[in-house]
Symmetry: C2
Amino acid sequence: MADQPSPADLAALRARIDGIDSNIEELILERARFARQVGQAKGDLAAAVDYYRPEREAQVLRRVIDRNAGPLSDEVLVRLFREIMSACLAQQEPLKVGYLGPEGTFSQQAVHKHFGHSVRGLPLASIEEVFQEVDAGHADFGVVPVENSGQGTIQSTLDMFLTSPLAICGEVELRVHQHLLSRTGRIEDIERVYSHPLSLAQCRGWLRQHLPNAERIPVSSNAEAARRARNADDAAAIAGESAGMVYQLKSIAGSIEDRDDNTTRFLVIGRSLFPPSGNDRTSLLVFIHDRPGALYGILEPLARHGISMNRIESRPSHSRLWEYAFFIDVSGHRDESPLKDALAEINSTAGDVRVLGSYPVAVL
Amino acid sequence: MADQPSPADLAALRARIDGIDSNIEELILERARFARQVGQAKGDLAAAVDYYRPEREAQVLRRVIDRNAGPLSDEVLVRLFREIMSACLAQQEPLKVGYLGPEGTFSQQAVHKHFGHSVRGLPLASIEEVFQEVDAGHADFGVVPVENSGQGTIQSTLDMFLTSPLAICGEVELRVHQHLLSRTGRIEDIERVYSHPLSLAQCRGWLRQHLPNAERIPVSSNAEAARRARNADDAAAIAGESAGMVYQLKSIAGSIEDRDDNTTRFLVIGRSLFPPSGNDRTSLLVFIHDRPGALYGILEPLARHGISMNRIESRPSHSRLWEYAFFIDVSGHRDESPLKDALAEINSTAGDVRVLGSYPVAVL
């Protein structure tokens, strides 16, 4: 405790912080003036959508991470810089971003995580409507959920691309945290832990360390687990924070998942494709007639060019011409080798390949 | 269009912005290191609650506004600085803030507006529970709605102070925007506008300018207005954005209220009172026996000391000892003259006056 600052030191520290704040403010305003000049390159009345450049934002954020010497985390710094960019971009007409409402959903959180708070969010009633409003130009972009780690792909979102002309302009990953909840809020009371088998598996390490002797009881959902935990002092549930509120349980511990990749993935949809950012992903929609041979004709060039495939999902195509549709995510940008070369080869063969989008890999 | 930047200019502008970003980042990290030293004044394991200083935050934000030379608005800059302070404060254990859940409510927005996003929000099932959790120390602060412009005071929140020992540590004002919504989304179709009389009054100027010939039809609520607007192409409703989603209406125009003081006011509740910030408000709870004479005994000293009163509300006191309870908001801080002197006088007379809190007037 010897090196604690005295009240005089405290006053000096606060004065230093005030000086820093003044410099930060000056720089943010200078940044806003330069951003305004960039906007003017697109005409005096340019709306934000005219000069929003997702690939440039991704590059800025990656540099923020590269430079970070601490003590703040990359996540916090990236969030601050997203807000600064969002504010600079919104000086004229802000971006309009449609999402699956109502306000307060994870989709709204994803909008703010990706675009910052200086956007106009449009809560919409369905994923279909998000596509429609972007297509009609009422929204500049849309944000739609596409994948839950644990629950897998949201097929209805992917299926929208079978008929929609929209492009994928970005991806957002939102972490979902697990909590240990109980009636008393005291870990020493707990003899049984209820949860969905996937959630129990996600928190195995934490449970082994903190509740080695408690019985683990798999149930159909985390909400059901919370409902059961409500009935006894010695029972706990692993569930999201909001389940604790609904069932009036106290949180014993938060963020107890062993890996922080318990995420929901969203796609940003828009009307145009953007240039490379240096670390991109490309989503392809491939229609083929006859599954085994034709699919090989697509996958072989990708493999030969050393392109890694992150995902493949087959879907009925809803079209008479083609029997099967495949959604394939690969690394790289369609305008850059080696993906550009592989796509050229694929297009010269039988398959019908549509590039849904080439977009920056989510920055945190 | 002559002074539009060329592509080379654009690249130069972006390089300048990158340089600015690097400086901003360095300064934010330096600020975080100094903030950490301030925290150490309270001990090595200090949680954020131990060195959170609302009066200091208010002063920092007022300086941000004083220095603002544009082009960003005060509101945007204040938001950015709240986030920077929030991130610096949360380096050890972040603030835990209870609010009326679920996630996505206006209360949650108020939490983030006041404390930034680097806090742990605890969604709770009722306003009573917010008070309980703060009182029990499970939450450091709570945020509860107390007033809707238009609908008036939320009596149940005020009544909590009749029995709770908690103090008011701050106030948050959240703007609520009105939208003109219709089935077609085209203003030229509109012949009739439905809304609650208060909302019609709030948007009178906008309606006069943009829809001078449309009939204004008062209905019982804005939701009812949205429901009616759904049934005809020539009808519109004035309502919040979320009503548009529920009733599948399109927004013709947003933020159409004539004055931007259409707000909901929240109180920040905590376990301690804080020093003056230089621009404070004090909330008093006054119990008296006999209304006319005793109330005068309270109000006269306040008036004589030149203290402006922002609000007075009478409530049944729920106590046998006192017949009436009054909630009175006045300008100033209880530790500073002239309020300090006035309070000393009042306490020496018959009334029973409790200072619920002296706290910074909401900064934007």
